[in-house]
Amino acid sequence: MFKKVLIANRGEIALRVIWACKELGLKTVAVYSEADRNSLHVKFADQAICIGPAKSKDSYLSVPAIISAAEITGADAIHPGYGFLAESAKFAEVCEACRITFIGPSPQAIKLMGDKSRAKKAMIKAGVPVVPGSPGVLESEEAAVGVARDIGFPVIVKASAGGGGRGMRIVREAKDLSSAFRAAQAEAVAAFGVPDLYIEKYIEQPRHIEIQVMADQRGNIVTLHERECSIQRRHQKLIEEAPSPATLMNEKLRRRMGKTATDAAAAVNYSNAGTIEFLLDAQGNYYFMEMNTRIQVEHGVTELVTGRDLVKEQILVAAEQALSFRQADIVLQGHAIECRINAEDPRTFAPSPGLIQHFWAPGGPGVRVDTFAHEGCLVSPHYDSMVAKLMTFGKDRNEAIARMRRALDAMVVEGIKTTIPLQRQIMDDPEFIAGKLDTAFMERFLKRTAAI
């Protein structure tokens, strides 16, 4: 086992890792930028090293500064948290070269899964379903017709240089493909100066469902079931829950997706915590999107419904121990919801950094708050806007929602704007309550509520 773990991160996840280390009896080293001198992770670690100025590039993203901090403190392992260097294969390699254990997967697995096209190929090879489509750029309109016929309608024609919805056309019938192809091509040229198009099966109203994987270095892989993260804005998750409230989610589908996730992890010799993200359509078909090779922000909801500590497990398997549980030990119990409380205007989403003048974290049955915030704490404009993760747990979804409502009502964050009012409003939304979620939920919700 390690003697001393350096946490190459800040904010709530740095604290979360410190708690795990303390419970395992391990010494901790915090690293911090000049802007974080008074942060809680600095206070609660056994040792703290200032590694650079406020700018992340010169502090939390500086590999030499972090490795050097590990060397001068004698840390024998580094937990990267999420963000910053968590998915840097280069950082994991440098750790290895310096004989410091990187608490995460191997650099090879990080590299492979970080490269979208290589990851997709590896997944196809492992029999993991991916969104079907043209293998590359379409040669011609005729080629588009051929691919569309193979994968079936509806399809989406996309500009390969695309973004922001431009150069994109959804085609539901074969007869419309030709005009859509030309329109998308014209748009692509106008917007990006490149006419290249590709074609993919269009997944209607997909849910974002992800499977939590935990693997040791002896080939044991266990899935801790799914999280539903369909409530997102511009690909930023706002509310997550476990298990998924989808009516079509049942033990059978859960087991199938779990098996697929296990196959995906096995195909890349995965160890440590990871998440396989899928799109799930209304018919119960699911498609691999990507794998996150780190502990995720929303790991807490999985911990609440499985009773397992994922961060401690990460440390144990990094120390070459076997997983402390088997698949049969993982039993879902109750329901958990997480709201990411961000320092943002709840309507415009403009960042709102500043001094927190009053702070109160709710408690009581079934409430968990992971945060670095406190009264008098400065939410720095240099970093991520997430201030707290408010999680609630209940015997069922209704109880978890009821607890989230009263917890959001009781939470006090004064001095900055936060997303609390928005999340409180979502808790009363009929679509949310009915569990009718898909990745366009927020778009609809914001339109619906703007009219009021």
Binding site: E34, I49, C50, I51, G52, P53, S59, P64, A65, I67, S68, A69, E71, I72, T73, V94, C98
Partner: protein, 152 residues
Amino acid sequence: MIPLELEILKSVLSMIAGTDVVEVELEEAGKKVRVRRGEVAGALPAGQSPVGVAQVASVAPVAAIAPPAVDPSHHQMKSPIVGTYYRASDPTAAPFAKVGDTVRKGQVLCIIEAMKLMNEIEADVAGEILKVHVENGHPVQFGEPLFTIKTA
């Protein structure tokens, strides 16, 4: 008893912070608080246990609000990186710089080892070395003072 005195002390300290006030004395209900700039003062609970005095004094180091006057010509050169400080190019060589030396801007003053790389750290001002803050072979953090240099 202690929390009350702490409260009084805190408010006195915040009152005089940023002012030219050198000494403040308050007396109420048999308790006396005296704060003097530049040294540690404590609450003096008349006829009470002296233990309380020590505790109050220890939580409120007056030095924190009244740092010793800094000569503007005394430049503090800080470490630009995290690492291990070495005063010489190898254990047998003479130190790059010692107290009393006059140094040029850009002159190598020490080495900081980070990730097995020996980084030569150059003087950011010219002047006379008044103080070397770090001991040979000891770790330094980003922004930690390395030298005090009297600028020429």
